[in-house]
Amino acid sequence: MAKEKAIIRSDISRFRWTLLEMKKNWVGYLMVMPFFLLFFIFTVVPVVLSIMLSFTTFNMLELPQFVQMDNYIRLILDDDIFLIAIKNTMIFAAITGPGSYLLSLFFAWFINELRPKIRAIVTLFFYAPSISGNIYLIFTILFNGDQYGIVNAYAMKFGFISKPILFFADKNWIPTLVIVVALWTSLGSSFLMFIAGFQGINQELYEAGAVDGVRNRWQELWFITLPTMRPQLMLGAILAITQSFGFGAVITALAGFPSPDYCAHTIMHHLEDYGGTRFEMGYASAIATILFFMMIGANLLVNKVLRKVGS
């Protein structure tokens, strides 16, 4: 140990320092290898290839042809529907992203106040909507467009409306309903992660905090809990971003695809349209790349906000 300590960083060049560190910590490479080998094959390589494809036209039959920035130019200048999609995606993301994040955080916090046995049951209640892959389809029955739909039936019975509302065909209703359903299902992985995070906090910190003058639960949350959980908060934010920008399946299931008047058409739908239906893979890749950079931008913004937590 003493001999190793003798070499300090300023003695040798940066390159040799790195080599030495690499040699000393070779176990680290061994441990990450299985994961990253698979990760490169199944994620990194495909992502890099599709960014490259976004500069080509590719219909999956002929070889890709390089067209420079044409796809991007066409997207922004010629594609009206894409602009609608961007607008809708931004609106959905701006509401469901922070919405689901705060819901997850606060309900996890509330639930953490309960005693362990009750906590397990309540957690299950809250998590239940996310467990089943497409249980949200039950909303198509609740909000069915004819008089057999529960909501229509009761609204008519009590005289709020005189004839059934076609909830999922009316462009005034679709965006609202879709957001409600999305929030309903949003207590998912970040919610569970927050609950695990609250449990992992060292209880001594709270005792120390009480001595130092923390007087109520809000102060405790802001000055002790949240700063300790910052890594989990970051992950929660990234999950919220990917979820809220990549929001497509729920809308398709509820409002159909394409939705009436494109009122709930998101970038995801546009992507499905060109990638899955028209097989214009170059164009679809360009859409995916734009979405990718939008998410990175949102992530940088969120990180800036999260740095202020606890100060």
């Binding site: 992502v47 249980i135 909303f139 529960i150 639960r217």
Partner: protein, 282 residues
Amino acid sequence: MDIKTIIDKYKAYRDKRIAKKGPNTFKRSVTRSAGGDVGIFIILGIVAVIMVLPMVYAIVQSLKPLDELWVFPPRFFVVNPTLKNFTDLFRLMGSSWVPFSRYIFNTVLISVVGTLGNVIFSSYAAYAIAKIKFPGRKFLFSIIVYSLMFNATVTSITNFITMSLLGWVDTYLAIIVPAFCTTFGLYLMKQFMETNVTDAVLESARLEGANENLIFWKIAMPMVKPAWITLLMLSFQGLWNTGANMYIYSEQLKTFNYAISQIVTAGVARWNSSRRGWTQWW
């Protein structure tokens, strides 16, 4: 009974329990006002009902005989509950040429193997990234973060080519192996390794001569138990919901979820059987 009496009663109850079992019974009661506690209980209660109601409705629907499903005005609750939908589902499943049990076996196999692999691979990598100071770990981690944000529709072509090069098309491997390296798994484990595992403990273990593998299993993993339990649950549940997959053609290799979705799409004639199907797999 107004809210004030409820709060007072709760406060008396809380004080009694604290007197009986010591101050740890209700966590840190210094910082907790009784009114706030009651408020939280009420909010939790209301929202829990909102969360669960649609699910209850799904279960109730599955118990309704066909004539009650189409009654007007629709009733929330069932008058003559029946299990006919359930038996129908099994009969229907039994009549397909691939036995029903095969679908279940496929789902269980994929979920169990995929989940175990995911937890182990992710935890190893997460431990190394969080706790072993090897050069390049920050770079690897930033790749992970950004790849979470790329859409899967366009990467699927490349993935399909990879799968066929590996000869994995139409095998379990095509579903199971990619499940080993989920970004979410690594990210989750890494964040918890950072907050929950203290460096001092690791250092002393290293000085005692323990190798990293031993430290990982004996020290790090017990300290992040909430994290890997969460990952276990989420990963299992995700794989359990595996539906139709572009890599799988053979009917014998398809999953339970796929079989159910076939029935759901079969239309109104099987309306209530399919409702039963939904209820079943969560």
